[in-house]
């Protein structure tokens, strides 16, 4: 695996605190890694251990072939010698220094001319030249972020660490800065570890996602794999996946699984990465993405052959989510619905909602392609 590649990152940590314990082990290549998970999962603590700001109880940290920490060998490289670029949650810009002095802070050991040249280069690349003489408090949130990035990147770090880099900003600005951050991170091509509790941030910025919960890693995978094949119902839930359901296996084969849910037999594609072959009757978790549920149009008959896994029921409630509508759908099948008064969440684009007159017409048949039913290992 990438663990032994010279540019890779290998992290094994045990750290016990009075009311929390961190025990993680993950590897990555020379790519952007997102540590994703809820607050208090140990993501920031991991970042601090990587930076040497917190000492783990046990473990080993190797970055690009350099051992930063190894409890068995008694190695603990001090923070100052790790050659890091660390962008703090609130940027931690030095308020008593100008933008130029902030960016040059890590370069004091270099000769003056070289330092000035490097600072100028960084200011130009991040479009900060005009702000060189300002103090941090005179800058907007976005400008502060760029200064923080510039200060971190000016030292040519071996490893770039970003702790919730966008959480200090409000939503519209965050979208814009996320794009800027993606551009900067891609352009500078440094091995990067990003901490975030925002899934879309993790997906836009990272190649690989390490999912944290309660001080443990519950999955580490390339981002594409994470959505198509969450390692467990727990991971799916952490990723905010809706319609996580539970049924019973009817028949399992290498490529297909038939399962019984609410009295209906559904057919799903078996997990592409690791096929499970549970016995008939085994309880199995699966999820259906709300945006992949199709409403069957009543004005198009005879029905074409593309529909499978059809179910009939009623819309009991709906919510306007701006560009889409979320429908709460209750099956006609007997028995209590899964979530109080409904079984499935369905998301339809606003236009579809209006054309189909869903506000007026409540009874629908729907279908789900077998590729859109994702089975989850338990």
């Amino acid at each position: 695996m990438s663990a032994n590649s010279p540019m890779g990152l290998s992290v094994q940590l045990v750290k016990r605190l009075p009311d929390f314990s961190l025990e993680v082990d993950w590897q990555a290549g020379s790519e952007v890694v997102a540590l994703f998970g809820p607050s208090g999962a140990g993501k920031s603590l991991t970042l601090q251990c990587l930076a040497g700001l917190t000492r783990p109880d046990r473990g080993r940290i190797v970055v690009g072939g350099t051992v930063f920490y190894d409890s068995d060998a008694g190695i603990d490289v001090p923070t100052q010698a790790r050659r890091l670029g660390y962008v703090f949650q609130n940027y931690a810009l030095f308020p008593h220094l100008t933008v130029e002095e902030n960016v040059g802070f890590g370069l004091r050991a270099r000769p003056r001319d070289e330092r000035r040249g490097r600072v100028g280069e960084v200011l130009d690349r991040l479009d900060l030249r005009g702000l060189a003489a300002r103090r941090p408090r005179e800058l907007s949130g976005g400008q502060q972020q760029r200064v923080a990035l510039g200060r971190a990147l000016a030292v040519d770090p071996e490893l770039l660490l970003l702790d919730e880099p966008l959480s200090a900003l409000d939503a519209p600005l965050r979208r814009q800065l996320r794009r800027e951050l993606v551009a900067v991170v891609r352009e500078w091509r440094k091995p990067t570890v990003l901490v975030t509790h925002d899934l879309s941030e993790a997906f836009q910025l990272a190649d690989r996602v390490v999912v944290y919960e309660g001080g443990r890693v519950v999955q580490a995978a390339p981002r594409a794999e994470l959505l198509s094949a969450p390692a467990s119902a727990q991971v799916a839930r952490l990723m905010g996946v809706r319609n996580i359901l539970s049924g019973h296996v009817v028949k399992a084969a290498i490529d297909r699984i038939q399962l019984d849910w609410r009295g209906q037999v559904l057919e799903a594609v078996n997990s592409p990465s690791h096929s499970y072959l549970p016995e008939a009757g085994t309880e199995i978790a699966f999820f259906i993405r709300p945006e992949y549920v199709r409403l069957i149009r009543k004005d198009r008959s005879p029905r074409d052959g593309h529909h499978m896994n059809t179910m009939a029921g009623r819309v009991v409630r709906e919510e306007d989510s701006g560009t889409t509508w979320t429908l709460y759908f209750r099956l006609d099948a007997p028995g209590p619905p899964v979530h109080g008064d409904y079984d499935l969440e369905i998301e339809v684009p606003r236009m579809v909602y209006e054309i189909l007159e869903i506000a007026r017409d409540r009874a629908w048949e729907l279908s789900v392609h077998r590729g859109s039913i994702h089975v989850l290992p338990t």
Binding site: Q80, Y86, F105
Partner: protein, 222 residues
């Protein structure tokens, strides 16, 4: 217009207070930094000893200083046997007494200012290659500057008005160790109320100036 005695008391007081304030800066600021940012064995004890003069009657602090520095004191006796000189009843004794009495004011004020500096700023400095002592000089202390200056102003004011401990260790020798507070006491005791009134006025005015300065610095620190 001012008598020789009053003039000497005034200058002596200013000299003692300036010297004590300088000593406070040299000893107290590193001490405040260590108490705010470092965990070391005996930290609680150091904190206690530095703070005690704030609570104890000044004469008690003065007594301890005699035990420590007097001619037969723990440090004073060896000093005397080697050099034949003792610090007691010299202007240096007045400086030491004022320093010790003012130290808790500086240390507590400076410590609070240092503790209020965002630790992420220090961490950022570490990640950018700065060792701790340089981080302290370039980040922590500059950002705590106003609080430290306010502490020094308070220490100066305390040193200027010191009476009890100074009397114990330095005595009340006109022209040598009699600072203004001691001269006021002497004047009142010997019934020279005009002289006492003048000294009281000068000291009150000086204290007001100092307090206003400390207030301004404190406001800027926040």
């Amino acid at each position: 217009m001012l008598s020789a005695e009053i003039r000497s008391a005034l200058w002596l007081s200013v000299e003692v207070a300036v010297a004590a304030t300088l000593l406070n800066a040299i000893v107290g600021v590193p001490l405040a930094y260590a108490l705010a940012r470092r965990r070391f064995i005996g930290r609680g004890l150091v904190d206690l000893i530095v703070t005690l003069p704030l609570i104890l009657p000044p004469t008690v602090t003065g007594y301890y200083l005699i035990v420590l520095l007097g001619r037969r004191g723990v440090l004073g006796a060896p000093l005397y046997s080697f050099t034949g000189w003792t610090v007691a009843f010299t202007p240096y004794a007045a400086i030491i007494a004022a320093t010790v009495m003012a130290l808790p004011l500086l240390v507590r004020t400076a410590r609070a200012a240092i503790e209020s500096v965002d630790r992420d700023l220090e961490r950022a400095s570490f990640t950018l290659g700065r060792p701790e002592w340089r981080t302290a000089l370039e980040v922590t202390l500059p950002l705590a500057r106003n609080g430290i200056l306010a502490g020094l102003v308070l220490a100066f004011a305390r040193a200027l008005g010191e009476f009890g401990a100074t009397l114990m260790l330095a005595g009340n020798i006109p022209g040598k160790t009699a600072t203004m507070p001691l001269a006021i006491y002497t004047a009142v005791q010997s019934g020279e109320s005009d002289e006492a009134l003048l000294l009281v006025g000068i000291l009150t005015a000086l204290s007001c100036v100092v307090l206003i300065a400390a207030e301004r610095l404190g406001a800027r620190a926040r």
